[in-house]
Symmetry: C2
Subunit: 294 residues, 2 copies
């Protein structure tokens, strides 16, 4: 589980000094002589620098004056990845580039459309996070023991793959190679759909009277906990993974509508079927996680 | 928050020595001179007695030989409440009767149809539980600080209401008076629908390959945690509250299908609307719970 120390970075550039970018900067401090922080809001980069995450640039990649870094990490929202990659490559700030966005296909296609260099780029998605955001919420241990998915572009060089893999290991994460399409389908299933389902359940609580809300127990709170996420952030994530997510939501909706119809006609079989499949599916992600922790 | 000690029971009869019945018996030990335990399986009652929950009857209410108890608690599944009430009243084991089932309208209507005495009965639903079952999973503190809904039949006498209220307080719970219909609608919203929704989400995980299940994080696990419940037990609960539950599930299904359609056509407004309503609903049950804990 310990970080792989065989690759040390000389210089790393983090573009986007929010929760994820700053957490990566803090995590790699011991593996990198020089961490440079940038953000479209220079105050965010300075804030990250003030907690020891590295040295702040006065502006975007254009303001960088040093030698090309070993790796540039684009820690910006999914929709901003293509432009951020184009800008960073135009200024040649690094020899390899990766991002941290939770969707991979759409940004990669748009980057290709903008004539970005896909040989020095590899998609990345560290599966760690918190409900808070911004550089002051950053923690060096955010990715410890978590999967870090890496999606080569098809043109990614071996050196690019190696640099991103070393970054994941330096953060204490477990690199997992996946095709971009497989990643997006997986995220639709295990991250984006659960969020939409939690929201759709929580939406039912908007109008219920106070004495009733006080009857809610741990079950209702667990099912709806992640509905607390920032709607604008999640709109961006869901829109960027629209079709794989829509397929999963249609399946869930069909199951629930079918269960409702069965309940109205005392169709025990369909209700039992849902509960049995739910129990089996629960075992898939709760058991494997237990094995993971051992 | 401390238990109300103004009413002390002389004798209590618990019919059904599972998790809930045995937990009630353990909770009232200090408020009741004599707790009598019964179960259709005499071994369960003996097991409950062996951990200090009270004295076991050799069989059902017919085997009870003492004076009428202050209160009989029917701690049996929803579908068995009417028969259990009828039997207990036929043998006159107590002066008042209550149950612990998580649905109230259907059992109450069936009890009326069986000519049970609705003056000495009041529906009860303590909102505590665990994922384990059986007498050995029982804990005296299971209901501490939790709501305990009481649903008068319309004929319930003041003495009956007082006895059930005193039981809830003796268990450290907070009595909440509600009409049976309001209770069932509330449970459909905050308990039964969240369970069905968790099952429908978890059902999507049945066929996904191992490496993908290992990407699942805390969000996916929280949303699906309660899908681990016993399918037969939940079939009974959902069937007994079929129509109020079906209404909620149809609403959730409609929201999810609408979100899927909006995603396919880049209809940001509908997606944002779901996320914003989800956030608002989340605040309703998470905030009120915080206030509750203070």
């Amino acid at each position: 589980m310990g970080a792989d120390l065989t690759v040390r970075f000389r210089r790393l550039i983090i573009i986007g000094s929010g929760l994820i970018g700053t957490s990566i900067a803090l995590a790699v401090r011991d593996h990198c002589a020089d961490v440079v922080l940038s953000d479209r809001d220079p105050a965010a980069a300075r804030l990250a620098a003030s907690i020891g995450a590295g040295t702040a640039l006065p502006g975007g990649p254009a303001t960088y004056r040093g030698a090309a870094a070993d790796l540039a990490v684009l820690a910006v929202p999914p929709a901003e990845v293509p432009v951020a990659l184009f800008e960073a490559q135009k200024h040649g700030v690094a020899r390899a580039y990766t991002d941290v966005a939770s969707v991979k296909q759409a940004p990669m296609a748009e980057a290709a459309g903008r004539d970005c260099d896909l040989a020095t780029f590899i998609g990345g998605h560290p599966l760690g996070g918190r409900e808070k955001s911004g550089p002051l919420a950053a923690r060096a241990g955010l990715f410890l023991g978590r999967p870090w998915v890496l999606c080569p572009t098809g043109e990614s060089t071996a050196a690019t793959v190696a640099a991103a893999t070393a970054l994941a290991r330096a953060c204490g994460a477990r690199p997992v190679l996946l095709e971009a399409a497989a990643h997006d389908q997986a995220m639709a299933l295990i991250s984006h759909a659960p969020h939409a389902v939690a929201s759709a359940m929580a939406a039912r609580f908007v109008d219920i009277p106070e004495p009733i809300t006080r009857l809610a127990g741990q079950g209702a709170r667990d099912v709806t906990r992640i509905a607390a996420g920032n709607p604008l952030l999640w709109l961006g994530i869901m829109s960027a993974n629209a079709h794989p997510l829509a397929d999963v939501l249609d399946d869930v909706a069909r199951d629930l509508a079918g269960t409702a119809a069965a309940l109205r006609t005392a169709g025990d079989t369909a209700v039992t079927d849902l509960l049995v499949r739910g129990l089996a599916g629960h075992g898939r992600i709760h058991d494997s996680q237990k094995a993971e922790g051992s």
